[in-house]
Symmetry: C2
Subunit: 352 residues, 2 copies
């Protein structure tokens, strides 16, 4: 493993760099008029001190928001804007130090503050390092619906230190592996094999992160706004998002990656049907079933779960077109799948 | 005068078309999943019915906001989002039917709703036809400060029917001419001459509008984000914005274009000083003095007005660099001007 690695995307670079030296150089070079560090209550407690020591950042403003998905809202963005107003001008920098909630809220806040100020992401969870902090999408919830307000906006750079992962819980790590597994399936056989090896050994985390970032950047650099190939990243998400939203509403939230793992099990089975390849993904489905906690729901709850799918914002003209897998490394997002088939796949998930 | 004219910009076209036929074709061609018409209380009363008759739009949703600069706020955007939520998806269109408050608020609301949906501007005032609706900037006020939240986002097209102007008050027309005069001074001698002719005859309004749009598009297509030549459009605005904000705070609001006309008088005098051209703009200053109502303020209020200038968001590193005019058709925005000199120009404005 190299000490540091720079992955160059079309719009910005991702620096994997345990000591954050690249971030120190970045700050020295850019001469921002003010620097604001955004944390949530977790990263304030577990990361901020180390971050300040590593970056040797002395003059800065600090804004803290409550941790938790339920706080990724317009209200939180408004609180951030109120605190930015007296200390930030157009030449200020916002540093998003945290997981997806911080990078999503912070990127949105920065991208519309005075029509957009610079921001960088310093993701502190495996999920945000490999997925949420990358890709130029941000968003906050509005009217009790997810990601209704947001923009496409790129950070000036992303800085990743794996040292933060020591403070990430096992459950969160598992959740991140749900998304990484999805990416590996989409990326191809070699990457999937590497992923399985890493998953059992838990070695070479930097490499797993670097592969994930390279793949995601490759896709989003070609299709930032989701018109084509980026749609493959929705694998597992049509069913997964519905399960996540449903369980959240019922007061028994499940981590995002876990819902995606369950969603993938259903959608790989749907893929087998659509592409007429019986049991083709048996091994992959078994892997997901064994290694990710089950999402619990009952047959009587299916109508409600399906209603989330029919109102999914990914639908166009009310057609549900989940990202499906023809084979490892080859996705297809052009097939409409009926709610009845999706219901059957959810039923099979319950029973198997 | 041609019956209709299309001005093609880099990102979209502006259709000057009294009967809005081009808009009818646009709607027919685009097949939006839903269409939402945004009005304010003025355009709801004076324009909506005619708009619906001209466009023959039958199935649509209507959102109305209160008229008035003071309502161009985040709160209004939130009210718009709340009403869009049940009726708009990613394939919906928002039509901003109104002046600058409607197009600024609507464009901002559309540009962050589900990470951006299509919108078009149908400006109904001379000011918005020639300035506000064009240029890709939007914004709402936040924390009692102007345009603190916003994005750069282009409408899919702009549709202009001069027939709306019959409902625009004389004061508003005058205000618009403040901005048009500014543009004409920046554009060159020929345009300035045409402007003066039109101003006295009030004929060929479509031509005046078309010239204004062509000039503004030419500038913003080259420099959307205000890094260079777009800064010339700030002529009159360093002093003008300060006067506008100050008078608003004192409860004696002045129309934007009037404040800009006063600002131009001061900044043309500053230009004469900076470029060492005594009385060079005598004729232009006289024109502005004679044809635009005075903005009233007293010497004792100057410190407060100057404090608006020192906190202007256009300043960089606290330096005030107003757009100045070397000669008609040639601006310069690189010269720092001291607050003392600006104060002197305001004093001269009071006394002359």
């Amino acid at each position: 493993m190299k000490e540091s690695e720079v992955i160059k995307g079309k719009f910005y670079s991702v620096h994997i760099d345990a000591k954050l030296k690249s971030l120190r150089s970045f700050l020295k070079e850019k001469k921002y008029s003010s620097v604001i560090v955004l944390t949530d209550s977790n990263t304030q407690e577990f990361c901020l001190e180390e971050f300040l020591a590593l970056t040797r950042l002395k003059i800065f403003f600090h804004i803290n928001i409550e941790a938790g998905e339920e706080n990724k809202t317009l209200e939180t963005a408004i609180a951030v804007w109120n605190k930015m107003l007296p200390v930030a001008d157009r030449k200020s920098l916002l540093i998003n130090l945290g997981g997806g909630v911080v990078s999503d809220t912070g990127a949105f806040a920065a991208s519309v503050f005075k029509r957009g100020i610079d921001f960088i992401n310093v993701p502190t969870t495996l999920l945000s390092m490999t997925d949420a902090a990358i890709g130029g999408k941000n968003g906050v919830d509005f009217g009790f619906k997810k990601n209704q307000l947001g923009t496409f906006a790129h950070p000036k750079a992303i800085f990743i230190s794996v040292s933060w992962l020591k403070s990430v819980s096992d459950l969160e790590m598992k959740s991140a592996y749900g998304e990484i597994a999805k990416q590996a399936l989409l990326d191809g056989k070699k990457r999937w094999k590497n992923f399985l090896e890493h998953f059992s050994s838990k070695e070479n985390t930097e490499d797993v992160i670097a592969s994930a970032i390279k793949f995601k950047l490759k896709i989003v650099d070609k299709d930032l706004k989701d018109h084509g190939i980026r749609k493959q990243l929705n694998l597992g998400h049509t069913v997964g998002h519905a399960l996540e939203s449903f369980c959240l509403e019922k007061g028994r939230p499940v981590p995002h990656g876990m819902a995606v793992a369950a969603g993938m099990i259903c959608e790989l089975r749907l893929s087998e049907q659509v592409f007429k390849k019986k049991n083709f993904f048996h091994a992959e489905i078994e892997f997901l079933k064994i290694n990710f906690p089950r999402v619990e729901f009952s047959e009587s709850e299916l109508p409600e779960i399906l209603s989330f799918i029919s109102s999914d914002k990914k639908n166009e003209n009310r057609k549900v077109k989940p990202a499906l897998l023809e084979k490892i490394g080859k996705a297809n997002w052009e097939n409409e799948v009926s709610l009845k088939k999706i219901e059957a796949s959810l039923n099979e998930y319950i029973k198997s």
